[in-house]
């Protein structure tokens, strides 16, 4: 029964499966982005993504479902936004950007194939991007951003009734997880900007639980992927030192973690961060 029952935070990061999706070439031209910037080098982006998937698959031994890209969906590589999976339940979201709503279809099929309990967000007034959902192992924080609204958060709360769902206003970033993520069972990685720190304060106030924080100089670097893999212990995918040297130094102090630096330079140009590119699932009841 180890896998069943409510987490006390210790089961955070347990993971057996991952769903990823290939990049569509339209990403370079048509992916949504908050600011105009440098053009995406597609080949490099693909290489980085392959490395990322390779780490999950080969290095960590996860069963990775790779969904094919859909050229009509330039943002389809960012699978995180279309599904929130916690334990055996998956909430298929209704992404805040209308252009992304079709991305859910492939994800739904994939998750169904994993025998998860699927909950769909059908309410037309609700929007929710998975990037706004931070699950700490004990509770949810949902960023209320341009992409996620109150109604979407309510549906999330109805879906995961066991957990407290607290809302956190997000102003200056795309998503809540644009500046934070879990870096360990009780550890929130957080960026240094005022907005990030303010959001952290809010989260701390809302929670009955006390989290540790790992403050990194760069907001984008605060988005990392924490996994707890049997036999490997704490695993942390974080941004490479070449990209964010100062932040990488902070991660390197986490001596208990197996640290895997991963470059994500190209995707970041279209607001894609490390957590964005996968949905992690822990299947325990393959009874």
């Amino acid at each position: 029964m180890a896998g069943l029952g409510l987490g006390d935070g210790g089961s955070l990061g347990r993971c057996s499966h991952a769903v990823v999706r290939s990049l569509s070439e339209s990403l370079c031209q048509h992916a949504l982005r908050r600011e105009k910037g440098k053009e995406v080098d597609f080949a490099r982006a693909e290489r980085e993504h392959q490395l990322y998937v390779g780490v999950l698959k080969s290095k960590l031994g996860l069963q990775v479902l790779e969904l094919p890209a859909d050229e009509s969906l330039p943002d389809c590589v960012f699978v995180e936004d279309v599904a929130v999976v916690c334990e055996e339940t998956a909430l298929i979201t209704r992404p805040g950007a209308p252009s992304r709503r079709k991305e859910v279809d492939a994800m739904k099929r994939a998750l169904e194939s994993l025998n998860l309990n699927i909950v769909e967000m059908t309410d037309e007034n609700a929007t929710l991007d998975g990037g706004d959902v931070l699950f700490t192992g004990r509770e949810f924080f949902v960023g209320l951003s341009k992409r996620t609204n109150q109604r979407g958060a309510e549906i999330l709360a109805d879906t995961f009734k066991d957990y407290a769902v607290s809302t956190v206003p997000v102003y200056d970033s795309l998503h809540l997880k644009s500046f934070c993520s879990m870096a360990g069972p009780n550890l929130i990685a957080i960026g240094s900007t005022e907005a990030a720190q303010k959001a952290l304060k809010t989260m701390q106030q809302m929670s009955d639980h006390r989290y540790d924080k790992l403050t990194v100089p760069d907001d984008a670097a605060a988005n990392c992927v924490y996994l707890n893999i049997p036999g490997k212990g704490h695993v942390l995918l974080h941004r490479a030192p070449e990209e964010y040297p100062e932040s990488a130094k902070v991660f390197e102090k986490l001596k208990d973690h197996m640290l895997i630096p991963i470059a994500n330079t190209e995707m970041e140009k279209v607001d894609g961060l490390l957590t964005c590119c996968s949905v992690l699932i822990n299947k325990t009841s393959e009874l």
Binding site: M1, E87, D162, A164, S166
Partner: protein, 989 residues
């Protein structure tokens, strides 16, 4: 067994005695039976106390019950306490004599009354447990003295009472005032007593829905208090850890209200049927810390109801999992022959339960093979306690913008929900004050990091009653979970207006301590109930069965409840009315004055209804306090106490340590984690530092505000009084509770919460106010400490100062803090009356008295984060010592480490409180010593964090320090020892 030494016990007991003596004088035996009756209702707070009165009528069953209960109680009382009691019994006599000699007769009443208030309950206990002759003797003496004194003072009482009411001679000497005041009280109680004595028994049938769906009915004396019923129910259930539970009744608007144990049932339910539901009131955050399986079982039953009714939302998986544990607990292992597919359809696991869910439940049930019912219950609770809405008491409200929200009161504070989303949270330490006024509910919140001022947040409740209900629940939850012992409503004595409601039961800390001492074989009980529950709940969420029951009962029960009056009742009634009339006279006379001045003053002010200042004290001496006063007088006994203490303290502890031993001390460390630890250690240290400055900052700011704020604060308080007066007067017609509050006047809480460690800013304010006042009256305030400690000193000096002013008038007997407190309150009241400008009323006064009769108390607190080996110091037992290759980092402040510091002085008392969580053990050691007339209270907190590498020590450390800081901003960390061990040695001894 809530009751052993509750303050109310004492008071009630006393009032009974006084009353009985006054009315009966010599004719005691004649009225035994009636008296008994009265007692039973008066004394439900203290099942033990009737034993005293019923002594002369041994035939009564009441007594028997009380005795048995008291025996139960005795289990909770450490042996040293019991021992002390035997000599305490002799005390009142001596004291009274002394006083009688030194003071006038009238004074004597006031004086001698007090020691009685303190001592008799102990006598009761002693008697109840030992039934020793000595006790009986002592008791006789007491009674003698009683009748004497009350006879003497009866006329005087009347006089002074009148003076009170008419408010004429304000110029009366302080002394007389005090005396008169106390006598008034006495008169009231005596009157009530007299009314009750001649009355005949009138009983009402009472029904209680138990958690297993069965119904318990019993006959209750019509004027019985809530506690009587509650005790009966718990006795029926064989439940000892009962402080987590309570009785609910449903009012006319279908709202559920908690029955207040300390008040008469009749006054609370009024015309409603005598129908109650037994429920969990305070959900233990960690059910595994409950001592008995039976307690966990009842908690499970409650949670099953909560879940089935939808009050506690769960996911599908959790519903299934919890359901499967229910099956395991009640049916045992899955048996394919016996348990066909339908076997579970009679259980209800969820508000709506699908076939799919039932299948899942069965599937999971199969996996629980081998779990005992108790284990299954424990698993159930381990999962249920993590649900986000576990133990959250929800109340509908609107925010300031009229948006519908829910306010959830829980162990940690107040949660604000909009729909299902948590939109805000106010932890108890953040909340400075809780108040309500009419249908609004307010919380005053500590300023956030960058903010300057406290803010008050208001919520709109559906009506006045809802607001008051929420307020009460908050007061109770805060007290239960945050305080070590309940705040005493004594201060309300001079604030006759507004709700004096306080939580009077035991706090979680107290109940845990008490249940550590439970020593009985696990009681047998059957787990068959869920079936019944599920049937009764089938398809119909809770409340509906209740309603039908209500209807049933309204036909039958209301009749008798409405009251057939038996012989003799009329007399009593008349007198009662009389007494009440006076009561009511008494308070309004004070009211107008208040209102006048306040009206002038307070136009601009925020209005509050009933207030409670949130007290964040954590440690205090409890039972020992009581004996301490006596010890002052009887120094000879000190060594005995010392010895008793030495003997007794190890008792509760071994179990704690045994628990610790069971948890493996696998301090396995990866080679690299050393470094990590150090690194992070630095970080944590830094964080702690920051917090400290914040605290200091707050304090300073608090101080600066003092001058400007103090006045205002006073005003606010007065205003609040005024407002509550209006609300309560309007209330009194509709709500009998406010009357109860008047009656509450004669319940002085004499067990002053000594050595309250005040930690929060609000308390600083309190201290500041006092400071002002203290300097006003007498300067010579010794300010020897810097920083936040200052306030403590000031408080004490101030108290002493007060004491001095009073001394002429009252002639305070050695360390009789009751007198002091009393006197102080009187003084306050007098000032209040004289000035008309009520600038000195300080709601916090009573609770801030710390060892009134003693010189300034210097407090030192210490947090030592130490390693396993150091535990040997605390535990008198051998403790696992782990042989290690270790790295030990010690941060030690230059401050002197006084684990044995008090030795030069005379040890007055010492107490050790141990609490533990998964990886943390907190040992709080409180010692009181007297050194050359200076009493010193040292609170030493030792937090030991143990665990293997999985546990984040740094986090645990930081959190421990943080928590300690929060509790006691003025604490100093004297030592931090980080001990890392590379190898695990099994050696335990």
């Amino acid at each position: 067994m809530t009751t052993e030494v509750g303050p109310e016990t004492e008071v009630k007991k006393d009032s009974e005695q006084v009353g009985a003596d006054a009315s009966e004088e010599a004719t005691q035996s004649q009225e035994d039976i009636k008296c008994e009756k009265t007692l039973s209702e008066e004394a439900q707070d203290s099942p033990s106390s009737p034993a005293l009165a019923s002594q002369s009528s041994p035939s009564s069953q009441k007594k028997e019950k009380d005795l048995s209960e008291s025996k139960g109680i005795s289990r909770f009382i450490p042996p040293w306490l019991k021992k002390q009691k035997s000599y305490n019994l002799v005390e009142p006599k001596d004291e009274a004599k002394k006083k009688a000699v030194e003071e006038g007769q009238a004074v004597e009443t006031g004086e001698c009354q007090l020691p009685e208030e303190v001592t008799p309950p102990e006598g009761n206990l002693e008697k109840a447990t030992a039934e020793s002759q000595q006790v009986a003797k002592a008791n006789d003496k007491e009674e003698e003295k009683h009748s004497l004194s009350s006879a003497d003072t009866q006329p005087a009482k009347e006089d002074s009472k009148e003076t009170e009411i008419k408010k004429v001679s304000e110029e009366q000497e302080e002394k007389q005032k005090i005396e008169g005041k106390r006598e008034t009280k006495e008169v009231q109680t005596a009157e009530i007593k007299m009314e009750k004595a001649p009355k005949k028994i009138k009983t009402v049938q009472c029904k209680v829905m138990l958690l297993d769906g069965t119904e318990y009915s019993c006959d209750l004396e019509k004027r019985a208090k809530g506690q009587v019923l509650f005790d009966k129910v718990c006795e029926q259930l064989n439940l000892l850890e009962k402080d987590y539970f309570g009785l609910l009744f449903q009012d006319n608007s279908d709202q559920k209200n908690w029955l207040d144990s300390s008040k008469e049932i009749k006054r609370q339910i009024r015309n409603l049927p005598w129908l109650f539901t037994f429920n969990v009131k305070f959900y233990p955050p960690d059910p595994s810390q409950l001592t008995e399986d039976i307690t966990r079982y009842f908690l499970c039953l409650q949670l099953r109801q909560d879940i089935a009714s939808g009050r506690l939302p769960c996911s599908f998986v959790t519903h299934s999992l919890l359901g499967s544990y229910t099956l395991q607990a009640e049916l045992g292992d899955y048996d394919p022959e016996e348990h066909n597919n339908d076997y579970i359809s009679e259980f209800q696991f969820a508000p709506s339960q699908s076939k799919e869910m039932e299948e899942k439940v069965v599937e999971l049930h199969k996996t629980h093979r081998g779990l005992t019912p108790a284990q299954a219950d424990s698993h159930f609770l381990e999962n249920a306690k993590r649900l986000s809405m576990y133990g959250v008491d929800l109340h509908h409200a609107k925010d300031s913008e009229g948006v519908d929200i829910m306010l959830g009161v829980c162990a940690n504070g107040l949660l604000i929900y909009k729909d299902r989303l948590r939109i805000n949270r106010f932890a108890w330490p953040k909340i400075l004050k809780i108040s309500y006024k009419r249908s609004s509910f307010y919380i005053k919140v500590r300023p956030a990091e960058l903010e300057q001022f406290e803010s008050t947040i208001g919520f709109k409740l559906p009506n006045h009653r809802a607001a008051k209900r929420l307020w009460k629940v908050c007061v109770e939850h805060h007290t239960f979970y945050r305080l070590v012992s309940p705040e005493q409503p004594a201060k309300a004595k001079f604030l006759t207006l507004g709700s004096k409601f306080r939580y009077s039961g035991r706090t979680q800390a107290q109940t845990r301590q008490a249940s550590n001492l439970i020593d009985r074989p696990a009681p047998y009980f059957e787990r068959t109930s869920s079936k019944r529950v599920s049937r009764s709940l089938d398809g119909a969420p809770m409340g509906i069965p209740d309603q039908s029951l209500l209807r049933d009962f309204s036909a039958t029960t209301v009749g008798p409840a409405g009251g057939v009056v038996f012989d003799g009742e009329a007399v009593g009634q008349a007198k009662l009315k009389d007494g009440k009339g006076r009561d009511e006279d008494g308070s309004p006379t004070k009211t107008p004055q208040l209102e006048l001045t306040q009206d002038e003053k307070n136009n601009s002010l925020r209005v509050d209804g009933e207030n409670i200042y949130v007290r964040h004290s954590n440690l205090m001496l409890e039972d020992l306090d009581k004996t301490q006063d006596d010890l002052l007088k009887h120094q000879a006994s000190i060594s005995e106490l010392k010895r008793n203490f030495m003997e007794s303290t190890p008792e509760p502890r071994p179990s704690e340590w045994e628990k610790r031993r069971i948890t493996p001390l696998s301090l396995q460390t990866q080679g690299s984690s050393h470094e990590t630890l150090t690194v992070v250690e630095e970080k944590k240290q830094a964080e702690v530092g920051i917090e400290e400055t914040v605290v200091i900052d707050e304090i300073n700011r608090g101080k600066m505000q003092a001058d400007t704020d103090a006045g205002e604060t006073h005003k606010v308080e007065h205003l609040s009084k005024k407002d509550s007066s209006s609300s309560s007067s309007s209330d009194s017609s509709s709500s009998s509770e406010s009357e109860d509050e008047l009656v509450g006047e004669y319940q002085p809480q004499h067990r002053v919460t000594e050595d309250i460690i005040r930690e929060e800013q609000e308390e600083n304010e309190g201290a500041k106010k006092k400071e002002e006042r203290a300097t006003e009256i007498i300067q010579s305030v010794e300010t020897l400490q810097e920083g936040s400690k200052l306030k403590v000193t000031v408080e004490h000096s101030q108290v002493t100062a007060k004491a001095l002013t009073q001394e002429n008038a009252v002639t305070i007997k050695t360390g009789e803090k009751n007198v002091m407190e009393e006197g102080k309150r009187e003084e306050n009241e007098e000032q209040l009356k004289i000035n008309g400008d009520v600038s000195h009323v300080d709601i916090d006064v009573a609770s801030q008295i710390i060892c009134c009769s003693e010189p300034p108390v210097v407090k030192t607190e210490m947090v030592t984060i130490s390693d396993a080996t150091q535990r040997t110091e605390i535990s008198t037992k051998e403790v696992p010592i782990v042989q290690t290759e270790t790295k030990t980092i010690t941060y030690e402040s230059p401050q002197f480490d006084g684990s044995a510091g008090g030795d030069t002085g005379l040890l007055l008392s010492a107490q050790t409180i141990t609490s533990e969580s998964v990886s943390t053990t907190t040992t709080t050691h409180i010692t009181k010593t007297v050194k050359g007339g200076v009493s010193e209270t040292r609170i030493e907190k030792r937090i030991v964090i143990t665990g293997d590498a999985d546990i984040d020590h740094d986090q645990a450390l930081a959190q421990a320090i943080k928590e300690a800081k929060e509790q006691h901003p003025d604490m100093s960390v004297t030592r931090v020892v980080v001990h890392k061990e590379t190898e695990l040695e099994e050696g335990k001894e």
